[in-house]
């Protein structure tokens, strides 16, 4: 109890679940809720707590204006207000009535809004090996000249690639989607969502027919059981975690299960912590599903009426009784049984799924098994029964919805000719203009085309892929690849660019952003961008104008001039799709966040998707015709229509398959990575101390076997590379070492971790899996000796040429676990 009260995040506000009448009211559709008498509370019972983060020396009375916005930290998208004084942002505070955070702020916000040195204020262009300042006219002129030259060549559309990141608003992403998909006609559009949200999105579409979270954060209020699957909520979603913790401290707290190889505040809080061997999530899930079905703890009527694939699911999970699953996952069988009992007994089960599943072995398959669990128990579409497949920064949701990455706008299916015709009609262009002759390219494929030389212009908005991907700088620096970077700072990617465009940060431009539970917030311009920096929307509109992109009748293809008009254009595109925004206006958003889908009429969006077990799986509605979970092979329209899902969800089965990187004699330990609390993934600003010494968490048992003491300098080697780190004796499981990545996945530690582990992909979502690698660890220096200023970094070549003679390999994990289970 003590440690929870000493929590650095702020005052606890324990609360209990809403009463039965309120729960009933929460289940009503929006229009009916409007008609309820005012005595029935419709909001969340979670007490408000307004956090205020202001610059030193400024208090609330000094603030001249409070401008509504949303948090860029985490993927929650909490509503907040930006404090302005003397034309400058001096802090932020939460919004009491906000449905996401009820006034709370992500600790990342403490520093997120502070102005930093080094903002770009003028466009830069390449002059030999340096970048020089220039005018907007010159910079845009160069981009347009290059674009026109490329378009004139055969297959011109295929010579453009776009990569986006977290700073863009919905309006900007949709504009980019129209420019890219209808103006230029390129299928090469992707972005940071591939690293953050691709598996969440793929799993939702695979099970339910379309992307979009079935549940909502308010399910935490109602639930009687809470399951966190590979989700270190305390680090990744601090505000959501506070909500969970407050329920746990209040009356009638929910039971709680956490699955995570690592120890964290979440796993310490949980009633059942399943510290599975990394990479074995599917085996665990199959074991849990086995227990549910074998004990009859599932809703047979729901399964019968609303799902497809039960027989095949049972055929697969029948082979995973708790005992076998427990053996594979290296956890006590009793714990698996206890978890199954909680899941089986829950009346309102809420699940959240994150990196521990989405970036691990069999990612999409494992995430789909959580969906299966909710389908088996009929725990969807009603208060407390919800699943949230969490992803990266909030605007990542918008990138996926608007078609600026991956699929077609409005969660449309590129393989559905009807969907392509809808877009062609909307944009008034020929269907042949819209790239639908093959699957959209994923990020790594786009960079591969750039490396091959078939992509001649790569436009990077608000992202720094060079920093994230070792070796990319060389590719982008090639003469043939013209790189445009649109950012706030001179990023690593900007350093190799041909044109750098200075952009506006949040608070300096207007637009909307959608959080993980489909809540749309309006962020308004509070201050002017510095120097000549421009809002991203203005830059993209300028490009469309200069490129003279036109529709079939010769009118301008992009017919809007500002954020609100762009939002209206997007609404028309979203109409009738699962992510219907047609009932949302800027005016309504000024009153607070609204969830999609929201059609005109009611004053609420739909809080929970799939009420009554009706899913987005009819052939005309679905976002995908489905993939083989093991290989990513597309099943195709014919098979899909033959299945005739007609609104039923898919129970997708998957056998457990060991990760290709299981520990063996040579590399006996398993390395996983974790992120520290104070991250800020939207990259509003370059954060993170690049020379911070990396730390490796080693289990005390393993450390004893290796002769490593707390604070020793150790060398970690995988078959792919090596790095040096300071050992910290902690860790939960013998045989597992953990490398915390620190701030926002940046810096040398993250890069080195990527070198060690970058091998696997999820075949369906194409999300890189970076959390597991077999490694060996050896002491290189004692605790007193200094660490090199920057961590020693050895790439693939370095490791191959390295002398392994000094390495004392750890003993085999099986032996270690027997000896040190109790440590």
């Amino acid at each position: 109890m003590l440690d929870r009260i000493a929590d650095p995040r702020g005052r606890r506000t324990p609360y209990g679940p809403p009463d039965a009448v309120e729960r009933l009211a929460a289940a009503l559709p929006g229009r009916m809720r409007d008609a309820l008498p005012p005595v029935i509370r419709l909001g969340s019972p979670w007490p408000a707590r307004v956090d205020v983060f202001l610059e030193d020396g400024v208090d609330e009375a000094d603030v001249e204006r409070w401008v509504p916005a949303a948090s860029a930290a985490g993927s929650g998208g909490d509503g907040l207000e930006v404090a302005v004084r003397h034309g400058r942002i001096v802090g932020v505070r939460g919004r009491a009535g906000d449905r996401v955070g009820q006034g709370r702020l992500d600790p990342g916000e403490r520093h997120g809004w502070q102005a930093r040195a080094g903002r770009l204020t003028r466009p830069l262009v390449r002059d030999g090996d340096r970048l020089v300042e220039t005018t907007w006219d010159d910079a845009m002129g160069r981009i347009v000249a290059r674009s026109k030259e490329l378009l004139a060549r055969p297959g011109g559309w295929g010579r453009f690639g776009f990569h986006t990141g977290g700073r863009l608003f919905l309006e900007e992403l949709y504009t980019l989607a129209v420019v890219g998909k209808a103006g230029i006609g390129t299928p090469h559009m992707d972005g940071d969502t591939r690293w953050h949200a691709a598996t969440a999105s793929a799993a939702l579409a695979a099970s339910f027919g379309s992307d979009g979270q079935p549940g909502t954060y308010a399910d935490v209020d109602h639930c009687d059981a809470l399951a966190l699957w590979g989700h270190d909520a305390a680090a990744a979603h601090p505000v959501l975690w506070e909500r969970m913790l407050d329920r746990r401290l209040g009356p009638a707290p929910p039971a709680m299960i956490a699955v995570d190889p690592r120890e964290s505040p979440v796993t310490r809080e949980a009633d059942v912590h399943l510290a599975v061997r990394p990479g074995t999530n599917v085996a665990l899930m199959n074991g849990l599903l086995h227990e549910l079905i074998a004990n009859g703890w599932y809703d047979a009527a729901y399964v019968d009426a609303h799902t497809l694939g039960f027989a095949e699911l049972w055929r697969v999970v029948e082979a995973y009784p708790a005992k076998r699953a427990a053996e594979i996952c290296a956890v006590p069988a009793g714990l698996v049984e206890r978890a199954a009992e909680i899941l089986g007994a829950a009346e309102r089960l809420t699940s959240t799924v994150e990196g521990g599943f989405h970036r691990s072995n069999q990612a999409t398959a494992a995430a789909c098994q959580v969906n299966n669990l909710h389908l088996l128990r009929g725990m969807l579409g009603r208060p407390g029964g919800g699943v949230l497949q969490m992803g990266g920064p909030p605007s990542g949701r918008n990138a996926l919805e608007t078609g600026a990455t991956g699929d077609l706008p409005g969660l449309r299916n590129w393989a559905n000719a009807g969907h392509v015709r809808e877009l062609a009609r909307l944009w008034n262009v020929d269907t042949s203009a819209i790239p639908h002759w093959g699957p959209p390219s994923h990020a790594a494929q786009i960079f591969r085309y750039a490396e091959e030389g078939s992509i001649g212009l790569l436009w990077v908005c608000a992202s720094d892929p060079v920093d994230a991907m070792p070796g990319l700088a060389r590719v982008l620096a090639a003469e043939e690849t013209f790189v445009v970077v649109q950012d706030l700072y001179l990023t690593e990617t900007a350093r190799v660019a041909d044109v750098v465009l200075p952009a506006a940060a949040w608070g300096e431009k207007t637009g909307t952003v959608t959080g993980d539970d489909r809540t749309v917030h309006l962020c308004e311009r509070a201050v002017d961008p510095p120097g000549e920096a421009r809002p991203d929307l203005d830059i993209l509109l300028d490009y469309a104008r200069r490129m003279d992109l036109r529709d079939r009748q010769g009118g301008p293809l992009v017919g809007w001039a500002g954020p609100e008009q762009a939002f209206e254009a997007w609404k028309a595109c979203s109409k009738g799709r699962p992510c219907d925004y047609t009932g949302i206006t800027y005016d309504r958003l000024r009153g607070g966040g609204v969830q999609w889908p929201c059609t005109p009429g009611g004053s609420y969006g739909v809080e929970r998707l799939y009420a009554g077990g009706r899913f987005a799986t009819s052939a005309g509605r679905c976002q995908t015709y489905g993939h083989d979970l093991a290989t990513g092979a597309e099943w195709g329209e014919e098979r899909y229509t033959a299945l005739a899902p007609g609104g039923r969800a898919f129970l997708l089965a998957a056998d457990y398959e060991p990760s290709p990187e299981v520990a063996g004699d040579e590399y006996p330990l398993v390395l996983t990575t974790s992120r520290a609390l104070r991250r800020f993934p939207t990259r509003l600003a370059p954060l993170g101390d690049r020379t911070r010494e990396p730390v490796l968490e080693v289990h005390p048992g393993d450390a004893a076997a290796l002769g490593i003491a707390d604070g020793d300098l150790v060398r970690v080697e995988s078959p792919l590379g090596a790095l040096e780190a300071r050992a910290r004796l902690s860790g939960l499981r013998p045989g597992v070492v953990i490398l915390p990545l620190g701030h926002a996945d940046r810096g040398e530690a993250a890069r080195a971790a990527a070198e060690l582990t970058l091998t696997a992909w999820d075949p369906v979502s194409r999300q890189p899996l970076r959390t597991v690698a077999a490694v060996r660890v050896a002491k290189t220096a004692g605790a007193q000796e200094a660490c090199p200023a920057a961590p020693a970094l050895h790439g693939r070549l370095g490791a191959a040429g390295g002398e392994p003679g000094v390495t004392a390999t750890a003993r085999a994990p099986a032996e270690a676990s027997e000896r040190f289970e109790e440590v």
């Binding site: 297959g155 010579r159 002759w437 390219s441 091959e452 078939s454 290989t631 990513g632 092979a633 597309e634």
Partner: protein, 152 residues
């Protein structure tokens, strides 16, 4: 009876396909997505060949001389570049088709000789070969427009 010859054709084709998947992975090391899947599919092909082997030995005792031109090579090593990858995948598709048709033919024959064990093998392996074909088709569709139209 000629069943052994078709089992032989299948056995050899599966081994060739396994080698070809590995050769394509090695021949295109910079393609980000080939590594895991090719290795996995190659492993399945090798396993298929191993499972056919005992039946091949068994039915060889009843086989007449091998018919002419039973086997024709379809893949002769990985090519280079984006276009080369497309052609390689095309070859692999043809090779996988040989396996797919062979599984079908062997299934019919297994029914004819009332060999339930052989039929079980077909029931297990045949669908995996179907997935191989699906994956190759998917990857070919992904690669074709860029490789054919957008020349570096």
């Amino acid at each position: 009876m000629h069943l052994a010859h078709y089992l032989g054709l299948l056995h050899r084709s599966q081994n060739e396909l396994a080698d070809a998947f590995r050769a394509v992975r090695r021949g295109h090391p910079r393609e980000p997505d080939l590594h895991g899947v090719c290795e996995r599919l190659a492993g399945q092909c090798s396993a298929h060949a191993r499972r056919v082997e005992p039946f091949l030995r068994h039915y060889s005792d009843f086989a007449p001389e091998e018919p002419e031109r039973l086997h024709a090579p379809l893949f002769a090593g990985a090519r280079r570049g984006g276009f080369g990858l497309l052609r390689d995948l095309h070859d692999l598709y043809l090779l996988a088709t040989v396996c797919d048709v062979s599984w079908g033919v062997v299934a019919q024959a297994a029914k004819g000789v009332r060999d339930e064990e052989l039929l079980d093998v077909v029931r297990h392996c045949g669908p995996e070969t179907t997935v191989h074909l699906r994956w190759l088709r998917t990857r070919i569709r992904q690669a074709a427009p860029q490789a054919l139209v957008v020349v570096p």
